[in-house]
Symmetry: C2
Subunit: 252 residues, 2 copies
DNA sequence: CGTCCTATTGATGGGGTTCAAGGCGTGTGG
DNA sequence: CCACACGCCTTGAACCCCATCAATAGGACG
């Protein structure tokens, strides 16, 4: 049933890196859902909005963000195809941050009740869901280290390598390049920098031969050289997952 | 059965802010566990260590941290009594960060199998567990905003107010003061600053009449004035939780 | 064909780091 | 019981990474 795998980036990502039964993927693909589309810039969920449904990102990029009273924006996390927009829907009543579309976005909206039915029928899928959620937490921790203890010259490539790897996992990047729909302003707001300094640092990365870009396409010739520059852990996001599966079969 | 509530900070925290059945708390208090003690500075879990058990923090402070190759330390998150040291134990095989004791620590160690039995018997407790885990994620997002878009003069009181509130929830702070076992170096490594600048900023906060301290005791006379200075959201961590309970009764 | 957003570059300045040195309290071993 | 070491706090001085302000240029779009 490899056709079903390609249908959704969530399934694609999960099935590549996590042992999910084919029959469970089948259940996933036939799940009852509603499709929603958003234009670039649209709010998907306002800060403080009620969490009523499971939202899965099918295509396009989205961001979790917060604003300070001075009007500064902090992009807390970037969501890519295959990510879960509302992992906390089973636990929290409202979002503590805004979620908006960075590019045009297609999402699947699932009722919690239906999601629970799927989890009951497809145990390995339930485990995969929580594993994907946990990956985000790992990335949040990584983001904290990036902001707290790395220079601008490290932050930018570190983010790029993370995005590249994530995109690659859902088949949206080649080995050496990917499309980055972020403006320099977006990068700045993600990494706690000013847009001006992002611009200058990008030039430095280009002139240093670390990266190249034409329009929104980023090229990384030598990812291990770049990884060394910014201390990117190549094992990052490769949370070894096999244990969780066995455990999940008995989780409440 | 209010006696049982006081037995553990986890139960105390949860029962104050989350509707957990008394009978479920009873189950929790009679759960099978092993007690472990750590001295200040001890590693509780090394980075990359296997996650085999549920670890609950009973008393003392602990930190999640990461190191850069240059030897810089980033404290990703601070764990207080009542927190879950290993929320990802059901999902990940290894930790992506080190966990160590900041002060002397007492922890409860529970086998996943036993934890699952408790979750099955005590549904509201299971929901509370995930709710506590979700609170940590909210704090990670807050930490990202703090590091990315706030000045040193805001970061420090923002952290203090968060710690104060959390401690208050487990009965370890008065309305206006709490004990902070962090060195200025620890604060620096939490907030992405140098210890020198933390020192100077603390003085500024004191001379501005925002805080006072004698030894490890921090006083906050006027928390709303301080909250305004650093844009601390007083509703923060007050994730409205009532919905999750109803849902949890059917979660896979 | 103006308008708006994004990228780019220069100039200036400040928040924060780094280096360095001194004081203070605590523990420890000779 | 004192001497010394060590960790933490403190303060000064120099410097630098990065922010801010400002101005120009280049699309995309109605």
């Amino acid at each position: 049933m490899k056709l079903t795998v390609a249908n959704s980036p969530f399934a694609s990502r999960v099935s590549r890196n996590y042992q999910v039964d084919d029959s469970d993927l089948e259940v996933f693909e036939h799940m009852d859902f509603r499709q929603a589309e958003f234009k670039a810039g649209d709010a998907i969920l306002e800060r403080g909005a009620e969490l009523k449904q499971v939202v899965l990102l099918v295509s396009g990029w989205a961001i979790r963000c917060r604003y300070t009273p001075e009007g500064l924006r902090q992009i807390v996390h970037i969501l890519l195809p295959g990510d879960i927009v509302t992992p906390s829907v089973f636990v929290a009543k409202r979002t503590d941050h805004g979620i908006s579309a960075l590019s045009d976005v297609v999402a699947r909206i699932v009722e919690p009740r239906e999601m629970q039915r799927v989890f009951n029928e497809a145990k390995t899928l339930a485990a995969a869901f929580w594993w994907v959620a946990e990956q985000e937490h790992g990335m949040l921790r990584e983001q904290i280290v990036r902001l707290g203890r790395r220079s601008a010259l490290q932050r930018i490539p570190h983010l790029f390598l993370e995005l590249h790897r994530r995109l690659f996992l859902v088949g949206q990047a080649t080995a050496e390049s990917f499309i980055l729909p972020l403006t320099q302003m977006d990068i700045a707001d993600t990494l706690g920098l000013s847009n001006v300094h992002v611009n200058r640092t990008l030039k430095k990365l280009v002139s240093g031969g670390y990266i190249a870009y034409e329009g929104p396409v980023i090229h990384i010739h030598d990812s291990s050289r770049l990884a060394e520059l910014c201390d990117f852990d190549l094992a990052h996001l490769h949370l070894d997952s096999t244990v969780a599966i066995a455990r999940s079969k008995g989780v409440a």
